[in-house]
């Protein structure tokens, strides 16, 4: 039982920390939220991706051949911890780097890898992922966007929703139904779609706080070249799940993000109203509850990674990872509620007012807490499906 990271991983941490202390400007930290309505902020973030890429810090988990460092799982973990704690902005192509690129590396052609990956890393191209649909949310595998083969092309018709940066993207990793008669998981394929093709319309989707980070994307008789297929025909579900299984070290973001938010909240409590909130034992108890859970979340994530690295059971690794997401959502919502309750009118403005609203998404996006619990109950605890 050892919680300490190996010396070479700590060396990696020190190197990254040093680099961030030189290159991460206040202006960049301030642009942490992808303020897509603001062209200047967007270009600033794009510039950050290039700075990171030039120094080899943009995609550390990628093999060196594509501009990465071939970082070990623990190095990836430390990378996420350090960039989050330093308050570095999330890369514009975060979904591309973590979720789409691994699928391209596994299933793509050599030419796809060499042309697409470096531009993705530098944010020269913005990527989006077309998964959810109006009628396929929690039940993702029931997606209905169709692709029908016509000569050298697929003809795509349908609609996607909750597509991050869909209205800014040059490329879309699109999941489509190619065999309507097969069982639902077996009739899906994955296409790499050029978003400039005729028949694609992306409309910004305004979320409850007024942001437009997401889009609805409509496909009307879009002719996609057949070589855009990623992975075998009708094997899209496997492509999607490969993508997700590369994510484990990313769990570090869950606790690192909450550590940062908790620190910021304590700082704001200390400055607001002469620090009066921090004299209130009820506030202290609620802060204590959150700090406690953040620490336990950290260990839960470490356990999931340790199980993967050191031959623990796959079920244990999966169970911890799945719980971690649920716990993260609960912590975030508790933190947002505490900020709002204690800061009063001030809590309804600025970042805490915004977080009070956007923290609703923590238990919805990427699979609702309820679906997550169903999966855990059945897959980990062995309770029967109906």
């Amino acid at each position: 039982m050892d919680f300490a990271y190996p010396a070479e991983v700590e060396q990696f941490r020190a190197e990254l920390r040093e680099w961030l202390s030189v290159n991460l400007t206040d202006e960049l930290m301030a642009a942490r939220r992808p303020a897509d309505r603001d062209h200047t902020a967007f270009e600033l973030l794009r510039g950050w991706s290039r700075t990171m890429a030039d120094a080899g810090w943009a995609a550390v988990s990628w093999p060196p051949a594509y501009g990465g460092r071939g970082a070990s799982v623990l190095e990836q973990l430390v990378y996420t911890e350090e960039t989050t704690r330093a308050r570095a902005p999330m890369p514009l192509n975060i979904i591309g780097l973590n979720n789409i690129a691994p699928a391209i590396m596994q299933y793509g052609t050599e030419s796809q890898k060499l042309t697409l990956l470096p531009r993705m890393m530098r944010a020269d191209d913005i990527w989006c992922q077309g998964m959810s649909e109006p009628e396929a949310g929690s039940d993702l595998a029931s997606l209905r966007t169709r692709a029908v083969r016509d000569g050298d092309h697929f003809v795509v018709n349908g609609q996607k929703i909750w597509t991050s940066l869909g209205h800014q993207a040059h490329w879309c990793q699109l999941y489509v139904r190619t065999d309507p008669d097969a069982p639902k998981h077996q009739g899906i394929s994955c296409l790499i779609v050029d978003m400039t093709l005729p028949g694609i319309e992306a409309r910004p989707l305004v979320t409850l706080n007024g942001d437009t980070d997401f889009a609805e994307v409509f496909f009307h008789d879009v002719r996609v070249p057949a070589d855009a297929l990623l992975g075998p025909l009708n094997a899209g579900w496997q492509v999607a799940t490969t993508t997700l299984s590369h994510e484990r070290a990313g769990a570090a973001r869950l606790y690192a993000e909450m550590q940062v938010r908790l620190e910021e909240l304590v700082d704001d409590f200390a400055t607001a109203d002469g620090g009066r909130a921090l004299d209130d034992p009820v506030t202290l108890r609620r802060l204590g509850e959150i700090a406690l859970r953040v620490k336990y979340l950290e260990v839960l994530c470490q356990r999931s990674i340790s199980a993967t690295l050191h031959g623990g059971s796959e079920n244990a690794a999966f169970g911890s990872a799945s719980l971690a997401k649920t716990v993260w959502g609960e912590i975030g919502q508790g933190l947002a509620a505490l900020a709002f309750d204690v800061l009063g009118t001030e809590g309804g403005k600025g970042r805490w007012g915004d977080y009070r609203l956007t923290s609703r998404s923590l238990t919805i996006a990427g699979g609702t807490t309820q679906i997550n619990k169903n999966i855990t109950a059945q897959r980990v605890l062995g309770l029967p499906r109906k």
Partner: protein, 371 residues
């Protein structure tokens, strides 16, 4: 970073689990001893000693295994899962850590050797040290020293041969050993919510004592942290066991023509228990590691112990939820669920309720924020 158990640790866990299932089951052992003030069945205690569990933390020079708190936590978890009513935590953890952290001398060595081979049961009477309800004074010097005073909530005093107490004397705070069979020691049961835990009010009336060492406050605090952390491992075992029982029940109990575990409402209750147990496990393994790895950096260990206590209220809810899953049968005396709930509640109440500890964590954070 490696948080997996070694093969030896897995073997220790499995051997302890098997021994308790065979020799100390709830029906036939735990229930028989609910009203017994010692909680000891000689054959079971001998068996635990023969497995090496009473000497896990005793240094090898005194006949122990010289292992770490991680191994102690593994055994504590199994004892908690089996609702073990004996004085293992008092003797093998509390007294042993007091003797190794504070009283490192020849007499301490003799007591440690007895603890390791199972012939001596020891306990400590200073878990609430600093609390004005428990005051002990020392009079006399050298071999003629005698103690006078009252100590509340001493665990396992009726089973113990040796009681370790702290008392201020001319030199500072001393750690004293008292033989419980000498005159001047009286032991009165304090009935708590949990009958598998034996606690007593101890009155010392010029009880002859042996001064082992001067007790530095840091070392005393470290022993109390050790005890809290081992107790947390015991409670984790209890929570895990009652959760597992409830989940297995949900897989076989049929209503409306189907097993109740197929209902989403029941599944979510089960996952809630699982979430709490796994968070508790995260806290416990970190605390066990911190109590050894950070032996000199007391702050991380202390914070880990405080966190474990702060989480105890949530952990007790696993007992509540399990009873909800069992439904009516879980509300009966005959069913074991209430014994688990009580074990969890007694941990939650030990040395102050969770709110106090949650507030302490918040206050530490606030101090950092205001700096």
């Amino acid at each position: 970073m490696n948080l997996e158990l070694t093969d030896e640790q897995v073997a220790l866990r499995d051997t302890t689990r098997r021994f308790l299932a065979e020799k100390a089951p709830i029906s036939g052992h735990v229930r028989e001893l609910l009203d017994d003030p010692t909680g000891v069945d000689q054959a079971v205690w001998r068996g635990l000693a023969d497995l090496g569990t009473t000497g896990l933390l005793v240094p090898e020079e005194y006949g122990g295994a010289g292992m770490t708190m991680v191994e102690a936590g593994i055994v504590a978890e199994e004892l908690g899962a089996a609702l073990h009513p004996g004085p293992w935590l008092s003797s093998a953890v509390a007294a042993t850590r007091a003797l190794t952290r504070i009283g490192d001398n020849e007499t301490a060595g003799k007591i440690l050797a007895g603890i390791a081979d199972g012939t001596t049961i020891a306990t400590v009477g200073f878990l609430d040290f600093g609390n004005t309800a428990s005051v002990v004074e020392a009079a006399g010097e050298g071999d003629g020293v005698a103690l006078r005073g009252e100590i509340a909530a001493v665990p396992d005093a009726a089973a113990a041969d040796v009681l370790l107490v702290l008392a201020p004397d001319a030199v500072g705070a001393g750690l004293f050993a008292i033989s419980t069979d000498t005159s001047g020691v009286s032991v009165l049961p304090e009935r708590g919510i949990d009958q598998t835990r034996k606690r007593f009010r101890v009155t010392l009336d010029d009880a002859p004592a042996h001064r082992l060492a001067t007790a530095p406050p840091d070392a005393v605090a470290a022993v109390i942290d050790d005890v809290l952390i081992a107790n947390a491992a015991d409670a984790l075992g209890a929570a895990r066991a009652v959760m597992t029982m409830a989940i297995e029940y949900a897989k076989v109990r049929r209503q409306f023509g189907q097993v109740i575990g197929s209902f989403q409402a029941i599944q979510h209750l089960c996952v809630d228990m699982f979430e709490t147990v796994e968070l508790a496990r995260s806290g416990v393994i970190h605390a066990l590691w911190a109590s050894d790895a950070h032996g000199t950096q007391g702050d991380e260990r202390h914070l880990a112990a405080v966190r474990a206590k702060a989480f105890a209220g949530r952990l007790a809810a696993v007992g509540d939820t399990a009873i909800q899953v069992f439904g009516g049968i879980g509300y009966t005396w005959e069913h074991d669920a209430h014994l688990y709930l009580k074990r969890l509640l007694s941990w939650s109440g030990l040395l102050g309720g969770p709110d106090e500890y949650l507030t302490e964590i918040g206050a530490r954070l606030a101090k950092r924020g205001l700096r």
